[in-house]
């Protein structure tokens, strides 16, 4: 039980399948205020952002990364320091004020010090040109008590009542408690982690591997190859996460490995579906349009560039993601696979 009173009504913002599943879980435990309409849109029968701010202490933003900032900016007008804000986004946002070549700054070649602050001014992801979603929420709202919900949570299975286990990352124990109180039940179990950064990064990076795994499936590659994609992809995620300040253990937990084991082998994952379509020869634009028509978002598409950018800056090797990037840019997938298989020998840990 938190020291700040009961959760009361729970707010859910988002129109996707995962948002609907979260709202369903919350409705099983108490009052839920679910808004699917974006800011500025008519939302008959749905709570206004003002209603959400006034009545819900805990608000879950379950949105694609591209929609978080605009929504949080409007919602922020109705929030105060008492709110607990948790997101369920699997992505990062480009950092507009990141140092770049235009100013002659950035991409330092320092002594490994840049971007490794603990409570420092330049959070590692921001220094690398991307913001974690909690950093966006901090910029756009007065809320400080933030969290991220992640894990192997394919929305359809959650809605069907399949036993599902998720993790909430937050530095505030009361945020974890509040999410448990709001969502946990006989079919949905919530673990807590104080590694908010790690949970967010693991959730943001796993769609890239799911996309790669889907691509491998679409190419007709079989289980040996697909396992290799997942395991080497996971290694890339973990290395990159560690370079950004995440705890390695978080990546072997629900938000990292857990998410991958579900999303990298299931058509229920939008990223896997997109990858499969690409592997089967569907042009990127057509495959993306098909997903959009379903109301689904493949965050992996956006994250491929992010991973490559951050990896280059932090000097982390991400051969698999580089290969994926090349395919998205038009390279022949079979040539890319051949290139990956003929890389110089290296240690598995490297």
């Amino acid at each position: 039980m938190s020291t700040n009173g009961t959760v009361g009504a729970v707010g859910v913002v988002g129109a996707g399948e995962w948002a609907a599943a979260v709202a369903t879980l919350a409705a099983q435990r108490g009052t839920v205020l679910h808004r699917t309409a974006p800011p500025g849109a008519d939302a008959p029968g749905e709570p206004s952002f003002a209603d959400l701010g006034a009545r819900a202490r805990l608000i879950l933003l379950v949105l694609p990364s591209a929609e978080v900032r605009a929504t949080a900016r409007v919602l922020g007008d109705y929030l105060h320091g008492g709110h607990l804000l948790v997101h369920g986004t699997r992505g990062l946002e480009p950092h507009s004020s990141a140092q770049d070549a235009e100013t002659g700054t950035g991409a330092g070649t320092g002594d490994g010090h840049e971007g490794t602050t603990e409570n420092g001014a330049n959070p590692p992801t921001a220094a690398a040109g991307w913001l974690r979603i909690s950093e966006v929420l901090r910029e756009e709202t007065p809320a400080v008590r933030l969290g991220a919900l992640a894990g192997p949570t394919l929305a359809g299975e959650v809605k069907r009542g399949q036993p599902t286990v998720a993790v909430v990352g937050s530095r505030f124990p009361e945020v974890i408690d509040a999410v448990r109180e709001a969502l946990a039940g006989p079919t949905f179990r919530v673990y807590g982690s104080d590694d908010l950064c790690g949970v967010e990064l693991a959730a943001a990076l796993s769609p890239v591997v799911a996309l790669a795994a889907g691509l491998a499936a679409g190419l007709g590659l079989e289980f040996n190859t697909r396992a290799a994609v997942v395991v080497r992809g996971f290694a890339e995620m973990a290395r990159l996460g560690a370079s950004l300040g995440a705890k390695p253990a978080t990546f072997t937990g629900l938000a990292g490995l857990g998410d991958l084991l579900a999303s990298a082998q299931s058509d229920a994952s939008a990223d896997f579906r997109l990858g499969r379509a690409l592997g089967q020869g569907t042009p990127l634009a057509a495959a993306s349009a098909a997903l959009q028509a379903e109301g689904a978002t493949a965050e992996g598409l956006r994250m491929v560039g992010a991973v490559q950018h951050i990896a280059a800056r932090n000097r982390v090797r991400v051969s698999l993601t580089d290969g994926l990037g090349a395919i998205l840019a038009g390279a022949d997938p079979r040539e890319v696979v051949r290139g990956l298989m003929t890389l110089a020998p290296m240690s598995e840990a490297g």
Binding site: T3, N4, G5, T6, G8, A54, R57, R73, G76, D77, H80, G81, G82, S97, Q99, A101, E102, T103, G104, T105, G106, A107, G108, T109, G110, D111, H113, E114, T117, E118, N119, G120, A121, N122, P123, A127, R138, E139, E140, T141, P142, V144, R145, R171, F172, P173, E174
Partner: protein
Amino acid sequence: MDHFDPASAGSAPSAAGSAAHAARIFDFNRERGEIVREVAGRVWGRKVLAGERNPDAALEYVLNDVAFHEIQRLEPDRSDKAKARRGAWQDLARSLGRMSTPEKESRVRALIDEYAQDIVGNFDPRVYQFATRVLPLGLAALLTPQDLRHGLTGFGELGDHITVQGDLETLRALAARATLVFTPTHMSNLDSILIGFALLRAGLPPATYGAGKNLFTNRFISFFMQNLGAYKVDRRLRFALYKDVLKEYSSVLLERGFHSLFFPGGTRSRAGEVEHHLKLGLLGTALAAYVENLRAARPNPDVFIVPVTLNYPLVLEAATLIEDHFKAEGKGRYIIEDDEFSRFERIVTFLRRLLSMEQSIVVHFSHALDPFGNRVGPDGRSRDRRGRPVDRTTYVARWDAIAAAAAGGAPAGAFQHDRARDAEYTEELGRRICEVFAADTVAMSTHVTSLCVFELLRRRFPSLDLYRLLRAAGGETLPLEEVTAAVGRVQGALRALADAGRVRMSVTVASRGPAGVLDRALRYFSAYHVPSVLTREGARLRVGDTALVVYYRNRLMRYGLERAAAAAEAGT
């Protein structure tokens, strides 16, 4: 007016004197005994409560923790006195199992009283008057003796060399309605003197502050520190009981409205960097005091934090600090007692030379923050990062109390301490302070030049790590033309950062051409460091002390300026 008057909240004292006299610190001596008793009483109460709730926090363990750390601390000291004290602690540790509860209680209470008495400061208004009226005259005369021929003109002369800037009017207004916690960057032991002068110059009230006990060894300095509100922080005492007393002391001072000052970096920056990791222990007392004030429904509950950057083109102890940094790779001696600060003539020489140039030192008072890292405006209201007003009490109020307040009232128990929550808020505050430190750091000619020289050296020796580079680069020369071009590129990059509000530039760096910046840096270096850090030799620049190049370069190392410094093609 000798005491703080809540009725004056909202007024903005315009002169140095009136703000200083509005300061609660003038009441300090009258409340001194009461403060010590309150601190000791609270710490004792918490220990008893903790022991009741958790057997591992029982008094026996408290005493054992103190004994263990004291035995360890005294171990290397071979003096008879230390041996005797170590023996006493060993005896205590051995007898803990046999001690009765009243005996243990008595020992813990005695220790709490002892630490509280040791920590507590003093404020003598007569010494303050002397220090503020006479010392600047003497210091100014000492630094610029030629002025004696024209009569003493007071600290205005000193002020010519020290620029004090920031939104001082807002801070003066806030000082009248809230308790301020000044949190400066920390480069030198001269910082305590500099910040004291800057507060006076800014028309801000004097603040009580925690000073390392080692600084009290100099009798002259000690006299003033003892009587100007400084309290002693014994950094050798690492056990929980001492830290609890220290934090409680700070909290009680803030609750009582005494403006305070902490160096949140904990110690002088060894590497010369702007602080990017803060010690949060004392900083957390700002929030603790705020919550306590709300709980007690005190009329002026607010505690605001004011980051301050102290920007020196030269640092008195630079050579010792960087040596210490490299020697121990971050495990440096925490307390250095034999550095340049311990030699009075060295301080005088340093200041004379440093201040022989106009506008040498810049003290920048940043905007105030609330304990949650929100910016506080001139109206005293907190604003989030989008500039929206936010009721800061909501961060520590119960949700049901917020709802009740919206309906017109606030039930009892609305505000509560929450150790986990408050620790995270303080982390957040620490992050914000670091951001502000970075944005309000003033890039100076010595920093820019050192950065350029270092990156050019690194380009020359690409395969060497930092430590090999340190050894290899001493005595190297670089074409002046190359260094000047690099300075120009870095100036361009700094302008872009400054326009985005991410750093500040000194007048020299902002307004002079690259050759002027380089020239100014070389004048600074040759005025103090022997051998000079960098020396002009015809059309080349000789590196005299690579470690100091690294030290001064480090001030700008987190701004991503390396590419601009090293490569022409990356310039603007």
